[in-house]
Amino acid sequence: MSAACLDIRSLSAVLPNGQRVLRSVSLSVQPGEVRALVGESGAGKTMIGKAVLGVLPSSVRIVEGDMLLEGEDLGQLQPKARRTLIGARTALIPQDPLTALNPSRRIGPQMTDRLVRILGWSGERADKRIRQLLDEVQIRDPERVLKSYPHELSGGMRQRVLIAAAFAAEPRLIVADEPTTALDVTVQKQILRLIAQLQRDHGTAILFVTHDLGVVAKISQKVSVLYAGKVVEEADTADLFAAPQHPYTRALMAATPRYTDPLASLKPVDEAVLAGLAAEIATADQAWRQRHG
């Protein structure tokens, strides 16, 4: 078997007060595959993405586990080599397309800069590449967009720009952190479709962070369900929807609103389920403490 695109093995991270935010997380993304990472707010989805991309907040410390990017152990690399590897093989499609673009620089230079400066492309080649990508994300007036400042574009346009930028350097892995949450409902679907389209065309693996099971069903082949920094279930997407194993997954599914009757099905996760989860996490923490003194 060839190496996984991303392989996270038993990753734990703690806050300064000793609290674990990631609890022995294991997950892998195969080349060209989309793995969804679902969980409610605060579950640690963003934290996992940041860990992979090497931008964890300084207060968060990794205390255990390995992360392998195309077979290379990130923990074994010198910081500089790690940065270079991450820069060359990964990209991020962020949640908020406004703050993810530099407000004082025009889109064009902002997009080509990375190709030229980091990857050493010629300006001409970078320019051509960017235009090609803008076409792929269905931006019809690239001239105007390239000359614009971020605030002159709509949220949907900005996210298209960021998607184009993410795919431009042909990364092997893209982390998409709730890429549609900050957008208008009407735009969300288009953006989701675009990401799926480019993912297929480029064969890029994606770690797709979301709290929306509807999105999971549409875009992913694999799912990991996260609760309080712990993977409580992982499965093929089809299997998960057909037969969710963990009570928490079932509760999440029941809580997901349906178009037919949005409010009726929107119910909080059951007390008993939460109690079960708390016990599960307590046991895991106990075992972890024993291992780590």
Binding site: L53, V55, A91, L92, P94, A100, N102, P103, R105
Partner: protein, 282 residues
């Protein structure tokens, strides 16, 4: 967006009025020997305390009147502008360079760099600024360069505080994280990504600081701690005017107006420039 539009509408006249006055004053100062109607140092007891041109008992060529030694007020104001502008530019630029650089480093890198720099700023700001300036000049000795050094040494903290806060805010934005993921080095990100976003504030502060430098220089002249007493300075003229306020109010009023106009113009000009520079407000 609405706010931005309102801000922009205000930019036009504000920028032109403030900029116009500054340009006028600057040109007058540069070309003082050509423009000034009289020798600013020439005393003539026959001409003492001449009133400004619209009052009775004036002499032609003495537009704003004369002081108690018979020296032409307008010429003294024009020559005084030379020292005011030299001090304004040199001191503000020095304060700006030091303060902005340290503020950018503290705000972007955070951690111990920020702790050290912020601590120094706190200690610095515990001194009352004018007292600090007087003390410094007393130690350094009077003279143009001591005044410039004193102002820069005191006021770099103003830049440091503001730019630190702004750089810190910018550093938390996702675009900085994105640049980090892409593989840019820390210093490169600070200079290429963060710095352009704080430039509008640096420009505004720089202009404001020039105004402040003019005031501080005037205060130092006023207490006779600035440049050699022969060269006219705005503060020096104000100090003299205060003594003869009852016989010749103009000797006090005109330099005060000049000073206030200049200081206000610097701050307004800075604000307007900032709005112009800022792509989000533009």
């Amino acid at each position: 967006m609405d706010e931005a539009r309102i801000a922009r509408r205000g930019v036009g006249p504000r920028l032109w009025l403030a900029g116009g006055w500054l340009l006028l004053a600057l040109l007058a100062a540069i070309f003082a020997p050509l423009i000034a109607p009289q020798d600013p140092l020439a005393q003539d007891l026959m001409l003492e305390r001449l009133p400004p041109f619209w009052l009775d008992g004036t002499e032609p060529g003495y537009w704003l009147g004369t002081d108690s030694l018979g020296r032409d007020l307008l010429s003294r104001l024009i020559f005084g502008g030379r020292i005011a502008f030299i001090v304004a530019f040199a001191a503000a630029l020095a304060a700006c360079l030091v303060g902005s650089a340290l503020g950018l480093i503290a705000g972007y890198f955070g951690g111990w760099a920020d702790r050290i720099i912020s601590r120094v700023v706190d200690i610095w700001m515990a001194f009352p600024p004018v007292l600090f300036a007087i003390l410094l000049v007393a130690v350094l000795g009077t003279g143009l360069s001591s005044v410039i050094i004193a102002i820069a040494v005191i006021d770099w903290t103003r830049f440091c505080r503001v730019i630190r806060a702004e750089a810190m805010g910018q550093s938390r934005m996702d675009y900085v994280e994105n640049a980090r993921i892409a593989g840019y080095g820390r210093i490169g990100i600070m200079l290429r990504e963060v710095l352009p976003n704080v430039v509008p504030s640096i420009v505004a502060l720089l202009s404001l600081e020039m105004g402040i430098a003019v005031i501080v220089e005037a205060i130092l002249s006023f207490v006779n701690l600035s440049i050699s007493t022969d060269d006219p300075t705005w503060g020096g003229i104000i100090a003299e005017g205060r003594l003869s306020i009852h016989q010749a109010w103009w000797v006090l009023v005109f330099p005060l107006i000049t000073l206030i106009l200049t200081v206000l113009s610097f701050s307004q000009f800075g604000e307007a420039l900032k709005a112009r520079f800022d792509p989000v407000l533009r």
